[in-house]
């Protein structure tokens, strides 16, 4: 087993390729995934290696993509459905929430729906309101689904494999900004990152930040800045949003007494609210300050670069909020 440094997107390609090699029931479908290799090149080379029927170019219909995937899953296959931009997922909403999420329950556990839905999400690419959304919270509210969000290449590969092998419908949100800007040592063979397990990537004593995706990296940068001032922040990469790893979260808050959630989705109704409530409920006796959420304002993602910079939580803003919470 060898470790080499690869990018986030290479990890995603590798995970799909290895799973498709390992299990002939695994196949990919979505818009432009086959011939073109995906608009981001996240499925590059798969059609060449596995052929047309295992790397399907679909019509422009998200509803069809997930519907086909669900049907195939019911017949024993393990589809990886790509929604080209998470922003477009609306068309598939019914298929995801009414069908995929509920068939297992509806059939008394006899018909599982082992689909993986890959969604490039997130901003900081100047994509404007229809190519930058972070809408994971919508699906965290649907029982029957799992929602994962890797922040690093290692987790991207491991979580995607886990998602493909999971017998439940799993939404896999991959951050488009991170595709080629993050590199990490990743094993070149088979390994899995368990779904439902957060990762304390930077232990600390004074304050816990819970985050994912691009915001995880910005939280890390804020933490390094605070470190110079003697403020020791624990940065936890949530990795899975549904089911939430409350055990790791509680352990962290018990240690530090101060908790902050950072996400790039708008604040109201975001996953931060759920996490904050759960922390207050379970860690009340250990809290030394309010539980704070740092998130985007409740507006669509702006297009103008300067506006977008103001919109997404910046390293500076995370730093200020954390410092304030520490001094509370």
């Amino acid at each position: 087993m060898g470790m080499r440094k690869i990018t986030y997107i290479d990890a995603i390609i590798e995970a799909q390729r290895e799973e498709m090699q390992r299990d002939e029931n695994v196949f990919v479908l979505g818009e432009d995934v086959g011939l073109y290799g995906g608009v981001f090149k996240a499925t590059k080379g798969l059609m060449d290696e596995f052929g047309f029927y295992r790397c399907l170019d679909t019509p422009i219909s998200e509803s069809a993509i997930v519907g086909i995937a669900t049907g195939a899953a019911l017949m024993g296959m393990r589809p990886i459905a790509e929604i080209q931009f998470a922003d477009f997922i609306g068309g598939a909403h019914d298929q995801i929430c009414q069908q995929a999420a509920k068939i297992y329950y509806r059939t008394g556990g006899t018909w599982p729906v082992p689909i993986t839905i890959r969604c490039p999400y997130g901003g900081d690419v100047g994509g404007g309101m229809y190519h930058s959304q972070s809408n994971e919270a919508w699906y965290c509210h649907v029982a029957g689904l799992k929602v994962v969000v890797p922040s690093t290449p290692y987790d991207a590969k491991g979580l995607l494999k886990a998602a493909i092998r999971d017998n439940n419908p799993v939404l896999y949100f991959e951050h488009k900004k991170l595709y080629r800007t993050i590199k990490e040592p990743v094993p070149d063979d088979d390994f899995v990152v368990p779904i439902g397990k957060a990762d304390v990537k930077k232990p600390g004593r004074h304050l816990s930040i819970f985050s994912f995706g691009l915001m995880f990296h910005r939280s890390m940068q804020a933490a390094m800045k605070l470190r110079e001032e003697g403020i020791d922040v624990e940065v936890v990469d949530l990795r899975t949003l549904l089911p939430l790893d409350m055990e790791t979260i509680v352990e962290s808050v018990k240690k530090t007494g101060k908790a902050m959630v950072v996400h790039e989705a708008p604040k109201y109704g975001g996953i931060g609210g759920e996490i904050a409530s759960a922390i207050v409920e379970e860690c009340w006796d250990y809290l030394d300050g309010p539980v704070v959420r740092v998130a985007a304002p409740d507006t669509p993602v702006p297009f103008h670069p300067k506006m977008e910079q103001l919109y997404l939580p910046s390293v500076e803003r995370i730093y200020q909020e954390a410092k304030q919470l520490f001094e509370y």
Binding site: Y179, P203, R205, L214, E327
Partner: protein, 493 residues
């Protein structure tokens, strides 16, 4: 503003090209849309039109040099524009320098072939504007960051965590006693270590105690100093703010077991007084020695000089100053009265400094600030300081320092009609002098005559754990002797 010349998109999934031929030199005039340079890739040779009319003032890439899409390769100054050479740097358009350098050692710049020529931005994921959303493969032409979080896991094992920061410069004026809210985390620690919140200086919002404040105490090994019953308490908490601390009447009549009752919320100072009183009475073996002193000479002395004194020094010539002088002389002769005894009764701590506490009655309750180094102060200075402390006490302006470090206390119960009382020792001191009403009384003098003298009763309450009766009697007698013969006191100053 001068216009940058930028390498345009060179085709789908093409990220770099080579400068082919420059048609212009620096200093040449250019027209908008006129080709100024060609760029070559595997697929094509492309002419780059000028983005403006003006003069080419910068050329950042040579013929044959490899450049990236969106790289700045030149600058054109339009008519009337001033351009400072070097003010626009070559590099990638849209990459913004981040703020102050931060430790990014956990993420290193990756060495990719396309990034080789790039200057790394000062840490951080570069911001980019994707103009052509159709060519996603060319999404990022910037630096690739390599991450490795294992160093934090190693650090945690080595416990190289940075030390907690010093308290912020100006949190709030208030010590632990003002903290109105103890967070759950703080409460747990206080219970766990049996700490007294009144002793702890809070650095949080409004002066509240934060978890780190307690953690600092624990790490410094000073838990004992801050526990309930520790030997260096404040006699009463400092109340520097001027807000009302009067007990609020809740105004709720409740039905007690035997009839209607009213519950009154007590201010924190009351609790502290209660704790101290109980502690003192529970620890010291209170014993009392009462003697009377003939202060006629002292009263006459004071009568004679008090006006001049007031005029000259602006402060009243108070009896307390004389009492302090007498007490200090007695403490020097009887050092065990200026001491403490350890909890296990194995040692006496004899103090070589003389900080005399003066009991002051205020609206909030009894406070005992002390005069530091009373042995080195004159009657004038003592008078001034007594007046000042009383004033500050009544205005709630006493500091923690005023209330700590006392070695012996004097309580002046005179002026209210009390003849004799049995004061409570100010723990952890071992004695307290109670001075009472100076009253003219008929006494029998040396020759057997009945005469009128200014008499006062002096009570010395002492801790029988350390001090025995004879010692205490002699101590008291010595004070009496001093006060009865003020000129004798003068000789020993």
């Amino acid at each position: 503003m001068p216009v940058k010349v930028i390498v345009p998109e060179l085709g789908e999934s093409v990220v770099e090209g080579e400068i082919g031929k420059w048609f212009k030199e620096v200093g040449d005039k250019v027209e908008m849309d006129e080709p100024i340079v060609t760029i070559e890739t595997d697929k094509i040779e492309m002419e780059v039109p000028s983005p403006a009319s003006g003069v080419l003032v910068e050329k950042f890439a040579k013929e044959g040099e490899v450049v990236n899409v969106k790289q700045i390769i030149g600058v054109i100054a339009r008519e009337g524009e001033e351009y400072e050479p070097g003010s626009i740097k070559p590099g990638e358009m849209g990459a913004e320098a981040s703020s102050a350098p931060i430790d990014t050692s956990y993420m290193e710049a990756g060495a990719g072939d396309q990034e080789a020529k790039q200057e790394a931005p000062a840490g951080g994921i570069p911001r980019e504007v994707d103009e052509d959303l159709g060519g996603y493969a060319a999404t990022t032409v910037g630096e690739v960051i390599e991450v490795d979080f294992s160093k934090f896991a190693e650090e945690e094992k080595k416990e190289e965590a940075p030390p907690p920061p010093p308290p912020p410069a100006a949190p709030a004026a208030g010590d632990g006693a003002k903290a109105t809210f103890l967070s759950p985390a703080v409460r747990r620690l206080i219970e766990q270590y049996n700490l007294d919140p009144a002793k702890i200086q809070g650095t949080g919002r409004g002066g509240r105690i934060r978890k780190v404040d307690i953690e600092r105490i624990i790490e410094a090994g000073e838990v004992e100093k801050y526990q309930v019953g520790a030997p260096t308490p404040a006699a009463a908490p400092a109340a520097p703010a001027k807000e009302q601390v009067v007990p609020e009447r809740l105004g709720v009549l409740v039905t007690g077991e035997y009839g209607p009752e009213e519950r009154v919320k007590l201010p924190r100072i009351r609790k502290t007084i209660a704790d101290r009183m109980q502690q003192s009475k529970n620890t010291a073996a209170h014993t009392y020695d009462i003697q009377e002193a003939d202060l006629t000479k002292l009263v006459a002395l004071r009568e004679k000089y008090k006006e001049e004194f007031q005029a000259r020094y602006g402060v009243k010539l108070t009896y307390m100053a004389f009492f302090i002088k007498a007490v200090v002389a007695a403490l020097k002769k009887f050092p065990y009265f200026n001491a403490s005894i350890t909890d296990d009764h194995s040692e006496a701590i004899l103090k070589k400094y003389y900080n005399i506490g003066i009991a002051v009655n205020t609206d909030d309750g009894l406070v005992v600030p002390n005069i530091k180094d009373a042995d080195r102060k004159s009657i004038v200075e003592l008078s001034q300081e007594v007046a000042e402390l009383a004033e500050r006490a009544r205005n709630r302006e006493l500091t923690l320092d005023d209330l700590q470090g006392g070695t012996f206390t004097i309580t002046n119960a005179g002026g209210f009609g009390t003849l004799i009382s049995c004061p409570v020792i100010n723990y952890p001191e071992v004695g307290i002098l109670g001075v009472h009403n100076i009253k003219k009384r008929p006494v029998v003098d040396e020759s057997g005559q009945i005469v009128v003298r200014d008499m006062v009763y002096l009570t010395v309450a002492f801790d029988h754990r350390l001090i025995d009766g004879v010692y205490a009697v002699e101590f008291n007698a010595y004070i009496v002797e001093q006060l009865e013969n003020p000129e004798w006191m003068l000789l020993q100053i």
